[in-house]
Structure formats: C-alpha cells, structure tokens
Symmetry: C2
Subunit: 371 residues, 2 copies
C-alpha cells in the first residue's frame, strides 16, 4: 500500500531557523507573522514587515500598546499630551473578513472592551468606534448603539476596502455618523482578504516599497467620497485619513479638479470643485510626515492644501515609525493649530481649552528654521 499524502509537521516554524538563508532569519524572528512567534508566514497580505511593527525598546513582550503604564510614561506624560485618540491595533482588520456578521461582532467586541478596560484608565484617553465597512447595516447599528458616549470621538475603519468609500453601499454608515455627529476616519491597514489589492498594478513585493505606496488607498477614498457627493448629502460630515501621508493630497486634488472641470456632467450633484470639498471635509493626520531634503518643498505643497488648518498631529505610538512631536518639522506659526486647535475643532466632544491657551509640548520643538 502506498499513501500519497501524509503531513509531516513542525511543532513550531522556529525549527526552520537553522535551515533558512541567514538574510531572512529576521523575518521569522522579529518580523510580521500571522500569529505568535513560531507561526509560519503565510501571505495574509503579500508583503510582510521584516522587523515587525512595534517599537521594540518600550517593552520586552512585543506588545507595548497593551501596556498602559508605559504609554502613560512614554507618551502622555513625556510629551504633556492633553488627549490621545485611541485607534486600536488589529481591530480595524475586521474589514478583511468575508463574513460581515462575524466582522461586526469582532468590531463590537473591541468597542466594548475598549470602553470597559481602556477609557477608565485615564481621562486623557478618547476612543474610536471601530466598524466593519463591509457590513453597512451592522456598522450603522454599531454607530447608533455607541454614538452618544461622551468619550467616543470618531468612527474608524481601515483604508483597505472592497470599494472606494463613496460607493452607495457605504452610505448607511455615513448617515449614522452624521446623525450622531461624529467624524469618520480611515486608518492605513486592512489589506488582504476581502479587500482589493491596495496598490495600482497588482501585489507589491517589499515592505518599504509597499508602505510608501499605501497612500494610494487614501487617494481613492478622497476622490470617491467627493465624486459620489457624500459631502453634499451630509454637509456636516468630516473624513479623516490617518497614517496615509499628506504631501500627495495637493497633486491629486489638482488632477481631480482638472478632470472634474472637463467631465462634471458625470456628477451633476456636485456644486464645487473637488479641492473645495477637500478643504472643508478632509483632514489628514501627520504621521508619517514626509521629510524632503529641502523643508520648503514640503511646506509649499502643504500650503496648497491649507495644511495649517487641515493637518492633525499624530504620533502612531507605539509603532516602528513613531513621530516624536518635538521633531515634527512644520512652520512654527502652524503649531497651535496642527498640534491642538484643528483636533479640537474636528473632535467636538473634546473639552474646550482652559483660557484658550496652548500648553507647551514638552521637549524643545524648534522646527521653524529651514533645513
């Protein structure tokens, strides 16, 4: 008798360590895996981060975001932060699941867990209602269920998606968000599974190549939300792009304005230029802020989108590409708005500033001189 299919297994994929090309050992040792150490890399997305996503010097267990004491010390107290908007970690990945009911159940579990175990830790913590956009009715119900909680300041999902977010299938979500008066945010992530390849012309190869290009999801959502008239339908709605970069917005809006002018007949419900909708409705978080050789090149392009009033400071704590607020290079006269004022205008549930005064950020921000 010959048995033609018998599975020989390892107890842990770590057993491969002595056998793999040394150049790739780090991928197994510290890199992105679809599970705990010892999991075998399978391409839940085609490209894996070779070093993992976390700042490794904060905690020994590889989960600094799970340790509030460290977060308080290393982020809240160190930089004298008034409020931080919590965005979860893996929870936005619910958008990749084909089963919409399970996806909403997981999002809801995150929201309950965050409300019960995180918000009571510190009055400076504010939460996001995470939703599964592939389940618009379930997402809308979740927004209405939690929408009057005073410490939840936005609705959040991944930038990876099955369709660009202007599509009518998502409108029940925007309707619910407008009803409860919360902004919508899309955070970089949610690639793989149900969602489309996030980059034009197919799967990319390396993490650094891919990470630089993931802003393409942000571009598509901005264009789609504007084109479908979402901001005409819900004039109070704001849309925040988190971790998608900022410098590309002006070039994309120039293209959108030109193409809209030529073919606006396709979208007769629009009354203004795409760039005008963007100015009023789109907000961008700063991390990772682009760092050209000549600072002026960035500042000029940000001036074209009124960056002073559309950018929101974000650190991305505790991720590998964390932006230290004392190192952000933006015009000094923008600091009050970008580090504080713009977020307070957007997240209307945050308390007013006492005396209207901006507290100084700890450290010595001195970023107004040109490089």
């Amino acid at each position: 008798m010959i048995d033609c299919d018998v599975h020989n297994d390892w107890a842990s994929a770590q057993e491969l360590m002595p056998f793999i090309d040394p150049n790739f050992r780090d991928y197994l040792e510290r890199g992105e895996l679809p599970g705990p150490t010892g999991a075998f890399p399978h391409a839940h997305r085609p490209w894996l981060h070779p070093e993992g996503f976390m700042l490794t010097d904060l905690t020994d267990d590889g989960h600094p975001g799970a340790n509030f004491e460290v977060m308080r010390e290393e982020l809240l107290d160190r930089y004298n932060v008034d409020y931080v908007i919590l965005t979860g970690e893996e929870a936005i990945e619910v958008s990749t699941l084909g089963n919409p009911y399970f996806a909403t159940a997981l999002a809801s579990a995150y929201n309950n867990w965050m409300i019960e175990t995180w918000l009571p830790k510190d009055h400076r913590l504010k939460g996001s209602i995470i939703i599964a956009p592939q389940d618009p009715e379930g997402a809308a119900a979740e927004i209405r269920r939690l929408g009057d909680h005073p410490d939840l300041v936005q609705v959040l999902m991944s930038s990876g998606s099955y369709r660009p977010y202007g599509d009518p299938q998502y409108h029940p979500i925007w309707e619910a968000a407008a009803e409860v008066g919360l902004p919508i945010a899309a955070h970089l992530g949610g690639q793989g599974g149900l969602n489309y390849n996030p980059i034009g012309c197919g799967p990319t190869t390396f993490f650094w190549e891919t990470h630089a290009l993931l802003c393409e999801t942000g571009m598509a959502h901005v264009a789609s939300l504007i084109a479908h008239g979402v901001f005409e339908k819900w004039p109070t709605l704001k849309f925040v792009l988190i971790e998608c970069g900022v410098a590309w917005l002006a070039p994309i809006l120039w293209r959108l304005d030109a193409d809209y002018k030529a073919l606006r007949k396709e979208t007769p419900w629009l009354k203004r230029l795409p760039s005008e909708y963007a100015r009023d409705h789109i907000r961008l978080s700063t991390q990772p802020l682009e760092q050209p050789k000549k600072r002026d090149h960035l500042w000029h392009i940000l001036e074209a989108i009124d960056g002073r009033h559309t950018l929101l400071y974000a650190s991305d704590y505790p991720h590998w590409d964390f932006d230290d607020p004392t190192q952000i290079k933006l015009p000094k006269e923008w600091h009050d708005d970008v580090f504080d004022g713009n977020a307070r205008k957007l997240y209307t549930r945050l308390p007013e500033k006492v005396n209207g005064q901006q507290k100084p950020v700890n450290g010595s921000p001195d970023s107004s001189s040109t490089a």
Copy 2:
C-alpha cells in the same frame, strides 16, 4: 412546452436611445464603448468615458489619429514640431489579454503596420515597439527583432499590469531593451482583463474620478523598478512614464526614501536612495500637466524632482485632454530642456540638433510669469 431561455436582441444598442434616462444618452451616443456605435456598454473596465477619448473637432469620423493629413496640419506643422513619438492608440491594450501568445501577435502586427504604413509618411514620425508584458519571452524576442530599426526609439507598454514592473518575471524584457539600447515607456492604459484594478481599494465609479487616480499605476511601477534593483542590473536603462501626471512624484519619492532608509535590509542590492535612482532613470511626460491655482505650488514640487531635466513635453494628440505646447505653464528657462533637449538625450536615435539651436515653437509661449 415552456422554453425558459429565449434571447430577444436589438440590431443595435442604439435602439435603446428613446428609452434611456436622458442624462445618460451621451454615454451611448459619444461615450466609450467596447466596439463601434451601437455596441452595448459592457465593463471591459468598470468606468466608461462619457464623451469618448477623441478631440471631436478634428475629423468627422471620430478617428482623428487615423488621419495623417490632419495630424500634419494640426500638430506637426501648426506647432513646428521636429519629431513626434508615435504611441499607437488601442495597441497597448494587448496587455489586458489572458492569452500571451495572441497578445504578442497583436503587438507584433501593430509594430509591422506602423513601420510599413506610418513611418514612411513623414521623417518627423518616430515609432515605439509595443510589447505584451505578460509574455516576457515574446516581448524580448519582439524587441530583439526590431531593436536596430533607426526610427524606433523606445519600447512601449501599458501602465496597467498584472504585477508592478520590477517583478523578476519582467526582467527578460528589460534585458532585451538594455541590449538594443532603447528606453522603456509605460503609457497610461491597459486596465481591465488580466490586469489588476489600477487603483487602491477597488473599482472606482466615474471617469473623472478614475482618470485623476490612474497615476497610481505609475507610482507603483517607479517604486517597484527601483526596489527590485532594475537600475542596478541595467545601469543604462531609462524608464518613461507617459500620461501619468508629474506632480505626485516628489511626495512618493519622499515616502520611498524614508521607508527605504528604515528597511533597506529588504533590498541589499541597492546602493542609493530611491530618489537618486529616480533622478537618473525615470522620465515623465508632461501631459496632462497639473494646473494648480498658484503656479508656484507646481513649480516648487517639480523643482524637487529636478523637473527641468526629467520632464518631456507631450501633447497626447488627438485625445480629449490634449495639451497645447503654447499653453504649457513651466518656468521659461526650462523650455529648451523640456520641449527638446531632454527628449534628445533620452531618445538617442533622434538626430542631433542643427547648430544646437532650439527652433521656436509656433505660437507665443509666454508662461514664465506667475499666475
């Protein structure tokens, strides 16, 4: 007897005209169709151009590009053009076909037809060798077959693709191009069929929305070619992006440089920053040149990629969004390079300039003053 499937047909989809919502009549009358007038719109790509791609005032038949007399009068003579690089019309769409052998056969047919019926018309016409990138061996053979023709100045394919062009599957093509000494160009197009959705987060809806975002394919090819070390492997190779826009390049390179610095271990074969490879190996055609409200915003961002030496003037004749050379808004001191010098350096088979003099472009280009 009941027959449950009998097909009732129209002789032409034009019969639907009296029955369709008037807002959409233009889509059927003048818009993009998968065949001649009377074809029924099916989504060979998800979004259809509502007015068609051609300048409609040049000829009555809707095929101005097929009429050389009109091209000579309206383009070559009118603007006093020394040379035009022909890029075909539908031929680059061979990249969308699943059958690689048929795709190469069609590309080859275009090349033979162009050499036999177009190049003899006028010494100012120069050709591109169109290839089917999904058939790398066939493409390489086609490049070697035609590579020594003195009037063929580049290898051309669509920007839409199955994978970003740095992928090893395409390397036989770059090998052949380097061997015959021709630059490679990717022209906007080739969406649908075999190729990936060209825009992050899935199919878009409207043509103007989509057209503005199609630059995402260019971003991915630039990143991929650099990351895979194509320009280390073939140091003489140049890569031209045609009709993908230009202003986005600087922001994308800033992101690529930052991510490469952090994770360059993934690509140990690279010796320089992504932006440095781009400066030496990537060229961009100008059409459609972005038109911000403040011209300075564009000029600054182009300065960041040394636009004076990396941009190539292109009109996109006879397409709907044709750029008139007398209306291009670039710094006056860049004109000699962008309108002439950069193309002669890239397309080395073009004759040297007589007396090294730039002939004036007909019309009155006066674009150096700020808007």
